[in-house]
Symmetry: C2
Subunit: 198 residues, 2 copies
DNA sequence: GGAGTTCTATATCGATAGGTACAATAGTCT
DNA sequence: AGACTATTGTACCTATCGATATAGAACTCC
């Protein structure tokens, strides 16, 4: 059976460019015209390759979580709760302080996604955020069981606190905070970390 | 000189309704149809009364800062740096944990405002956020001079940290965090506050 | 060299965005 | 009453949104 005309653009580089766009402007702030112009692709090509805007965004989200969010999964593997927290906070400082990256955060953008048309996207991103916080909470629960956190420490409260600081750093980076400034925020946020028995 | 036909709606209640809309959906997520429908006003009436969408948003922003942001100005008047921080953090917990209020935060929404059309709004809100952080910094600088913060404390770093937690709490509230949960986040964020000499 | 298949380009779809022209209406002034 | 002024409702403007119909171009298979 015939194969058909080959695609004239590389989908991976297209996804990379789309990621940068969505990262900077959010889901609704990025129009199809933005996408086709930046990717150098016509509208029908984009639809043939990715389905529609929403499906493209999902693909982008995967890439984003795999790349930009890698520090999170890595941090959760750190040996101690303190180290987990430190890697999470400093990882966020590195990510959002990197001038090569767009400011902001896909997750936060999605959280506040604007109109009702994007309700589906908003719900989905909300689920992602909750899952991310839950992963931290589970890790801290384990840490507490291991005596790595004091007995009166609340893993869920600490996980929520970490999430709050992480998202706050993303917002702060939109205002142009430098990497060094974000690092100092991370250091302050870490100063109160409860000491474990180990 | 004649006065003309009297306005059939109250601009204050209209602004109140518009505030709720913008608060929940952001600047770009709120359409003129949303506004006219919710306010019970026709399009030309809205334009005659407020100019255009952008001008209306500015009016709304004033109200928002005066009402929802009142806790901030009040907190800055607290006698000690610790009390300032405590009132800021707990005030945010009360505000964002109030089920009567829309989730999120006009300021954070504006920070991430979507498309390029809203660049003006975005810049303006960014300036507001920076001004807010600067106000905290000035207050903490005074606190340090008064011996209310240790000599090695950095007012600007602490102000940035407070801003980060404040914005993070707003984002967290979108995910449905309760007032009690936000209060505990505030408590954790406060635990590390540097002790002054006084 | 077709046949079959998939991509590309033009041109366009209906829906909605923010914003207005215009005439009718409702009030205060002299 | 009549002049003047501001608001109101209808109906419409242009621009852009996301998404497609259609036709031609480029490729592999037989």
């Amino acid at each position: 059976m015939p194969i058909g005309r080959p695609r004239e653009f590389d989908t991976e580089t297209a996804l990379e460019l789309a990621t940068a766009l969505f990262w900077r402007k959010g889901y609704e702030g990025t129009s199809l015209s933005d996408l086709t112009e930046t990717l150098g692709i016509t509208r029908p090509s984009l639809y043939a390759a990715f389905g529609n805007k929403e499906a493209l965004f999902r693909r982008v989200l995967e890439r984003y979580e795999a790349k930009a969010g890698a520090y999170r999964t890595k941090a959760l593997k750190a040996p101690t709760a303190l180290e987990v927290a430190r890697q999470l906070l400093e990882g966020a400082a590195e990510l959002h302080g990197d001038k090569a990256n767009p400011v902001g955060c896909l997750g936060v953008h999605g959280a506040l996604a604007c109109s009702d048309d994007a309700a589906m996207i908003r719900r989905e991103m909300s689920a992602h955020r909750i899952a991310g916080e839950a992963a931290i909470r589970r890790r801290l629960t384990r840490a507490k069981a291991e005596g790595d956190l004091p007995a009166d420490a609340s893993p869920s409260d600490l996980a929520r606190y970490l999430s709050v600081v992480l998202y706050g750093m993303a917002v702060q980076s939109v205002g142009g905070a430098s990497r060094a400034e974000l690092r100092r925020v991370a250091a302050i946020a870490l100063r109160q970390w409860p000491k474990g028995a180990r």
